[in-house]
């Protein structure tokens, strides 16, 4: 892989990460803590929304974020031809 392709791969990875981590912070610190009071005005299926995000919503979003990351990276690796994982080595 030449220098330019490498750089493009890394930039795509960083862009994806930045977006996902922004959502991570918005949901946990935002919806779960700083905006929880405002969101509690809304009630769904018995749950005040801010309380629900802090207790369960954020965990489900975290799971979705990792899933999106894992699947997107699979695609990215394939696109840039760095998916020969079995060739990796390990030593002492």
């Amino acid at each position: 892989m030449d220098e330019q392709t490498r750089r493009a791969y890394w930039r795509s990875n960083l862009r994806l990460m930045t977006i996902l981590l922004a959502i991570w912070a918005l949901v946990s610190f935002g919806a779960g803590i700083f905006f929880a009071d405002a969101l509690n005005e809304i009630e769904i299926a018995g749950f005040p929304l801010g309380f629900w995000f802090a207790n369960q919503g954020s965990i489900l979003v975290f799971l979705a974020l990792i899933a999106v990351y894992v699947f997107s990276m699979d695609r990215l690796d394939k696109q840039y031809g760095v998916d020969d994982y079995e060739e990796e080595v390990r030593g002492s």
Partner: protein, 573 residues
Amino acid sequence: MSDIQIWTLVFVGVTFALYIYVAYASRVSDTSGFYVAGGGIPAPANGAAIAADWMSAASFISMAGLIALAYNGYSGSAYLMGWTGGYVLLAMLLAPYLRKFGKYTVPDFVGDRYNETARLIAVICAIVVSLTYVVGQMAGVGVVFSRFLEVDTTVGVLIGMAIVFFYAVLGGMKGITWTQVCQYTVLIIAYLIPAVAISTKLTDIPLPQVGWGQILDELQGLQADLGFGDYTAALTGSGQMNMFLLTATLMFGTAGLPHVIVRFYTAKNVRAARYSALWALFFIALLYTTAPTVAAFSKFNILSASSDGNLADQSWFDTWASAGLITNLDATGAPTDLNGNGAIDFQGAAGSNEVLINNDILVLASPEIGGLPAPIVGLVAAGGLAAALSTASGLLLVISSSVANDVYHKRINKAASEKQQLLVARISMGVAVVVAGWLGIDPPGFAGQVVALAFGLGAASFFPILVLGIFWKKCTAAGAAAGMAAGIVVTMAYFVWTLPSDSAWFFLGKDPILDIAPVGFGFIGMLLNFVVTIVVSQFTRKPSETMQHLVEEVRYPGRTDLVARHAEGEPLA
């Protein structure tokens, strides 16, 4: 012997036999197998092992009680978000790159990427954090044995030690990993069955995550009637700031704890390391989304019992009072009827409350409180043991590999043969088991606080220098050593300054600065570590060209030349 004791004995006996069989079947004879299970664990199994490793006695036994009783609802969710959110950071910032680097331990990465000073600081951090953490697990094992089987705590700890010793010394990481897969299965079944049963009983909805919405309104009503605070209301002001700091500290601390990070080395390759993080959070989320429901249902049951009349009339009351988990307000004996109204009152207001309910009771007694049969109670006991033993064994492996690999092999005897290294690893594992058991029988007074603070230290020491080491090629060795030292020293200093002076002589018990609670200070220590590392790196000798190329290569999966040569042991100047 009561029904509950017989069933507990059956479940504990069967699960212990299973762990021993699995450990025997996966025994190892080389260092790669001992440290990282030969790097050949499939992602779903690795994920289950991470989940079992991660969810300790604290997650299984104490967390729901912490939410319902100690934190009264909403603010307890800092633990739920904090202990899961860290996996997002691990999956994206650390796991794939550390796996690609291809070594055995966290100090290994620190030492190779930076220098020997940084390796030494990392070894000390890893051992101190793991040892304080493992003591709590051993104590948890003793507690479950003494409560459910009425054997002496010391005997309970000794039995737990013998089991862990057997499978950890024999099978190393491989034995530990496959036993943890079994232990995860046991603990998740033990956690979910009572939750599903109670949800069905109270709301007719078998999915507790949906069902507990139905009782929140009523719970709020009971809370108000009995003088407890609002269960769902958000925090404002310094409460909100401290909740943010605690959540952030737990998240970054999770991503900085060596016993979690090392699990990504056991994955087959970079892709499997990413999937391990996904599976791990999936398995953890099963328990963590259930925990707040157990908290709400059990509190609802206890409050209804108290508001309907006498708490002491409940069938479970005497069992847990005699176990010392339901006590009078000073926790010196059984509760008494202080106001003489003929009933034990559980109230929110300090003046009218007559009873102290231990956090741990919420999970351990939830089957009895919910009126479920004896086999389920026995199952929960086996689940609590699985949670404690699985975490203990993962921590012991970090201690053993830090001593044998990072100290003995890398510092003392570089020419050590495979056989010698393995022997040292097994001996240090054995010594660690004995030390942990000894401390578990008689835990030092400040042990409980130290475990909570381990996350602060993890965040303030490892996280910044690991991330910068991967994402910033020009991060220097001097920068990392200075950053780690600054983070640890300042965080420790704040703990010593603020922690209550009656729990240890070296705590000063002063007022917190700017209202910052000590448990949330790790986040600030982490920011300081980042700043110091970046500033010092500007003025110190840059890493060699080769090292910068190596860091660059770690970013791409598949075989790359420098990483391969490095992994095979070729020294890179």
